[in-house]
Symmetry: C2
Subunit: 403 residues, 2 copies
């Protein structure tokens, strides 16, 4: 048995193929590349039950990940995050089977750790010495930290207005950090120039093929945690959309392996009303999205005006009879508060957006009461302390609490 059953890279647009033993970024046609595995062989070699007793991190699925030598694995214990039944909130929505996949319980407090763990591990295997990327904050933090652990240098560029905590993470990890007076798309242009000039490894979203493999493990975990059953619906807050593409890819791989059967869950891309290019494209039944001008939302992680993988996200929505939904900042903040009060979970604004969409889709009848619905909370609320405004009463020594 091999540690990995990785086979090759292929292009979802022009069907070109590439090897996984040397650095490849985008396809020559400009499309992101996808990693393929020897699934037929793996089907004979591994029974899903063997996974049960493995360590509770995403490397339990190492056969379905691209790192071929276990000594290259760079891990901080990421993965196997809880899948929680939200009984109280489900009652409020009218859903008896509402679950939250809580990606707050992961290194750096955001699901970006999954992509970074697998992406950096594979970069290490490929001999990468230095990487660069633009970020809205959390991805940069995760990649800078995993790169530090791997002994890889990193250059990170993020919007000046991005949340401040990831800045500290990036700086503490020893990365070269730059802020830009602009959006993540502006940071992306600055990174592209540095990559071209200095020959850096471009770790921008989907410009290397391995981040998506880390993200796809969310999909495998959900299915394993539901005893190898598929849910009916998965809602995902969508910026670059890598997680949604990854979950879709994972489910197709699991079906091919025979580890799970039946209908794919309807995948739902959730965006903010102030930045909803995927929603607009989906409503217009388009294959790709248009750049969203003057984007703005408190859910900074999904402030992505144009995603490189938009066509893969939209394909996943169309193929699964899914949907795309936009919610307002007010709606998501209300939902964040409601979830803390009813379920004791302090989730991030992006996760709260996905819950707000779940509420809407239940109200509209698109989701039915008995359906098994999984909402992804992509990060810990504590990374966004500014979303909560508090002015508690102050007591002095010797005071008593008012009755």
């Amino acid at each position: 048995m091999n540690f990995s059953y990785v086979s090759h890279l292929d292009c979802p647009v022009c069907s070109n193929t590439y090897d996984t033993n040397s650095v490849h970024q985008l396809c020559s046609c400009g499309s992101p590349l996808l990693v393929r595995y020897r699934l037929g062989e793996l089907k004979n070699d591994l029974d899903r039950e063997q996974i049960k007793a493995r360590k509770p991190d995403l490397w339990r699925y190492h056969e379905l990940l691209p790192v071929t030598d276990p000594s290259h694995v760079v891990t901080l214990g990421e993965g196997m995050t809880p899948l929680l039944h939200f009984h109280n909130l489900g009652n409020d929505y009218g859903l008896s089977q509402l679950y939250m996949k809580d990606e707050g319980l992961i290194p750096s407090g955001s699901f970006k750790a999954r992509g970074a763990a697998v992406g950096v591990s594979k970069a290490k295997e490929l001999g990468v010495q230095e990487l660069a990327m633009p970020t809205n904050g959390n991805a940069g933090a995760a990649w800078a930290l995993y790169a530090a652990r791997a002994g890889i240098k990193s250059t990170i560029v993020m919007p000046k207005d991005a949340p401040s905590i990831p800045r500290g993470e990036v700086a503490l990890a020893g990365a070269n950090l730059f802020l830009v007076n602009g959006l993540i798309s502006d940071a992306g242009k600055i990174v592209a120039q540095a990559v071209a000039r200095d020959g850096l490894y471009d770790a921008s979203t989907l410009k290397e093929p391995y981040r998506i493999e880390g993200k796809k493990t969310m999909g495998i975990e959900i299915v394993e945690q539901l005893d190898w059953q598929m849910p009916d619906v998965i809602l995902y807050p969508t910026g670059g959309g890598v997680g949604l593409i990854g979950i879709h890819k994972a489910l197709l791989e699991l079906i091919e392996l025979g580890w799970v059967s039946g209908k794919l869950p309807r995948l739902v891309a959730v965006q903010a009303e102030g930045c909803a290019p995927i929603v607009k494209a989906w409503e217009e039944k388009k294959e790709r999205s248009d750049f969203w001008n003057d984007s703005k939302t408190i859910a900074f992680g999904i402030n992505v005006p144009k995603a490189l993988g938009d066509f893969l996200v939209l394909r996943a929505l169309y193929e699964t009879n899914g949907a795309a939904v936009a919610v307002s900042d007010e709606e998501l903040l209300q939902e964040q508060s409601k979830i803390a009060r009813l379920e004791g979970a302090f989730i991030c604004p992006e996760g709260a957006a996905a819950f707000a969409a779940a509420r809407k889709l239940t109200q509209s009848g698109w989701m039915k009461s008995g359906e098994k619905v999984v909402v992804l909370n992509t990060g810990a609320g504590i990374k966004y302390p500014d979303t909560v405004q508090v002015n508690p009463p102050i007591l002095n020594i010797g005071d008593i609490i008012p009755s």
Copy 2:
């Protein structure tokens, strides 16, 4: 088989016993109470190997926890946090077997979630409607969130100078939050008055017996993660000391069960130079500590001038040939930065203090190169963003990164 093998409560000072079916706070003699189990019976009923395939949270040890009816379990997926080998940092210290138990990967981002999960679950089982507690921040956040999930009301009092993020967590959870112009000991007095006046459940550190049971699972996990071997040393940042008391208790229980054998690890209580009552008592070979006046440290979670369970902490140090070590704020901040650069982990100041102590104890020869050393990081660094000061260069749209 029972879900729990809980037997009764007993007093470590006067040996009085109490039942676990009704509310008990301190012993009538003023000491904290400890939970006891029917270990002889459990030894016959359960093999440790049966635990392996259970869900990766602390409830995998439910036989050793006090909740008797599984329907009373209030969980957010806490436990089975990673135990990471720190190769790079170990090289720097001169320790080949240096491990970090990372309690940042837990609901609310701090190990306080363990005590809250078990404490709130048992409170729910006992029919508690409303609880109150003083806190330096993280415990209050965890208890407020779990109480919300359980449908229990909570009143939380914390120092005005405590880190701000937990305030947001407490408020969002819908608790009654008060700040006090003073220390946690002053908050404690205010809570005691409210408890007496309003008949609330007192969830102050060690004033209810069940928090310690949640914390002890750190000890069980460490041993399970080391394939049922004990490490040589465990270092623990010590404020109230519940985790250290709990780990000691857990290891003794595991020995009695026959799940692990050999010598207990030397337990090390780590404090800040600005608040080191346990260290002072240990150096003077005393049984109890004295109140530490004008305490001050950046590691707010261990700013506890006098712990109710000090005698239990000191007993654990003496019985295991352990030690107590104080480090300066400067030392712990340096260590925090070093760990991010070498290992990619952004840990909390309290955890960094424990690492700084590990460095000192290796330099002094108290710990030897081949020894298996586990350091507890009690929380995520992202809960303390102010410990990192960053002033990255700002670029404008169209700028390039300087060569």
